[in-house]
Amino acid sequence: MRPLQLSSFTLTTCLGRGLAATLHALQGRATGLARRPFETAVLDTCIGEVEGVDAVRLAPELAPWDCRNNRLAELGLAQDGFADAVRAAAARLGAARIGVFLGTSTSGILQTELAYRRRHPASGALPPDFDYQHTHNTYSVSAFVRARLALAGPAWTVSTACSSSAKVFGTAARMIEAGLIDAAVVGGVDSLCLTTLYGFNSLELLAREPCRPWDRARSGLSIGEAAAFALLEPLPAAPAPDTIALYGVGESSDAHHMSSPHPEGLGARLAMAAALEAAALQPAAIGYVNLHGTATPSNDAAEDRAVTGLFGTGTPCSSTKGATGHTLGAAGGVEAVIAALALRHGFIPAGANTLEPDPALRAHYVLQGRAAPLERVLSNSFGFGGTNCSLVLGRA
């Protein structure tokens, strides 16, 4: 594929708001996961909650979109000059030539969960103030961001569970390649809600302590929330110094099971191989793999087989979900931005919380962050339904 530059990028997670806070936390091997209350949830687990989401206020004209997910989107857009960079791009290219493709798994469903507690006692009707279209619907976050940034190009939400906001990079690449747009705002926003907390609990996939990817004692995932964004444009012939670019996207399906990965990681391996092929790279060119690494026993085992099958056991790998939690539909975007940070600042992030790597897993799992002159990195995102997506990013 023709490379695309990340003209601007940002993320907001439980590690903090924006790139600097995230970099600081990752370099210090910090975690944002904590045992804390969320809404009325009564679960023995830790969460990665973003500070201050409830306090965010949307502009009056955007009031119909008000919900936790879009407040988190608003908070994310305000960091690192991202909204300003998009505004400048729109002035340069035209608002109709910029697409908006965001990933989410549950959008603003929390609003519906709350509304179901306020049903009319006789009729069962939902309360009049509940606005399904602008909050719960899966498209809500993309519509909100498109309106917030005054863009007028094509837009939709990709919702493929936990690969959603990796796959939007592929969407943008195809739409730019087809000439329908000149740039795209991509990324992902997913926020804490009861559906995912109780849903993953029903699958017995929630860890009690902060999740420990790749650890021999890993016992499940910790759910987080995040907003991550990137502005993608064709990579110019003479890129600016320090430019980070998207070189490859690989997508595949497991064809195996709705909520368990292929045990040999076959679909994951296909996605990684396709991303390398799109980037015209051999596995040895990859200096770091940001793993999907959810910390459930079977997910990490399957990914380990896929990664070592393709890369061998020498390529440095880590999962940053011990730091951010699993941000579900936002995870692909979060980890693409973390990959961009690793490239720009020349460091390999260590996996937080992991004490003793599982001896049954053979990938070179990094426990101590270190400086490294990275040129190309790969980021994995996999999801329910057997959906897989890998991205290759690099220094231009």
Binding site: M1, A96, S105, I109, E113, Y116, R119, G124, A125, L126, Y132, Q133, N137, T138, Y139, S140, S142, A152, G153, P154, A155, W156, V158, S159, T160, A161, K167, G170, T171, A173, R174, M175, E177, A178, G179, L180, L194, T195, Y198, G199, F200, N201, S202, L203, E251, S252, S253, A255, H256, M258, S259, L266, G267, L270, A274, G383, F384, G385, G386, T387
Partner: protein, 266 residues
């Protein structure tokens, strides 16, 4: 302004009063009146019996039209890229989860939880057809069909191989239905290919366009187009039904819309 070209190799439809393409074609040609009737959704033959029982309406519609569109030619389903587009995930599943979460016992069934994801039909399709090819699942609220058609054409352009677009809507039950009055289940599958091979129905060129989208003369069909997101495809289906060369403007985001130039294949 860029133009994307595609050929339609297969088409299957399932809608209210439109149980299959043969009848829908006659209605869209004006040979039969449109009579609204609840959408008859068949049991998905693709799935093993236990999965048939557990799958929701969205999965049933998507698999039914997807399989029917592929059955019209010799393509190997396990190698076809797929784009699934829907205005929402499965309505019944979402309602059941929200009801449970509002109660005192918040016990969600694990199966119900994994069936609640927007890409559940894509997952079941991949399992049923043993297809490991790239796939995506989109939502554009009322603009979901246009989003799916754009993404399918972009897939075709990028990968140079056939792609199956499956657009569908599975209504919510009350009380969500009152807030999102999509009252009819609807499914449409289009198998698109880069070139028109033997048996292709039509080819088309697509551009983004401003201006007013096409409407339908028949009041019943126009009501369907306006209220069911996948039925926004009806102006295109009308041209295909009549075997006409012509233009259709499909309602997308209120600006841009999708302008199609359609030519039948002999």
């Amino acid at each position: 302004m860029s133009t994307l070209a595609a050929a339609i190799e297969g088409l299957a439809l399932l809608g209210p009063g439109l149980p299959d393409w043969a009848l829908a074609r006659a209605v869209l040609r004006g040979e039969r009146p449109y009579v609204h009737a609840p959408t008859a959704v068949p049991v998905p033959a693709l799935l093993p019996p236990n999965e048939r029982r557990r799958s929701g309406l969205a999965v049933k519609i998507a698999l039914a039209v997807g399989a029917a569109a592929l059955a019209q030619n010799a393509r190997d389903a396990s190698r076809i890229d797929t784009v699934f587009a829907s205005s929402a995930a499965d309505g019944d599943t979402c309602h059941a989860i929200c009801e449970q979460l509002a109660g005192s016992e918040r016990l969600i069934s694990p199966t119900r939880f994994h069936n609640s994801v927007h890409n559940a039909p894509a997952g079941y399709w991949s399992i049923a057809t043993r297809c490991m090819a790239p796939s995506t699942s989109l939502c554009g609220y009322d603009a979901s069909f246009g989003a799916g058609l754009l993404e399918a054409c972009a897939f075709l352009h990028a990968h140079g191989k056939p792609v199956l677009l499956v657009a569908y809507d599975a209504p919510y039950p009350e009380p969500l239905l009152a807030k999102r009055p999509v009252r009819d289940a609807f499914g449409l599958a289009l198998l698109l290919a880069p070139q028109a091979g033997a048996g292709a129905l039509a080819r088309f060129e697509l551009t983004l366009a401003d201006g007013a989208p096409d409407t339908l003369a028949d009041a019943g069909l126009e009501a369907l187009r306006r209220t069911v997101p996948t039925a926004r495809s009806l102006p295109l289906l009308g041209l295909l039904a009549r075997g006409e060369r012509g233009a259709a403007v499909i309602e997308y985001l209120g600006g841009p819309h999708l302008a199609l130039q359609v030519a039948p294949c002999a």
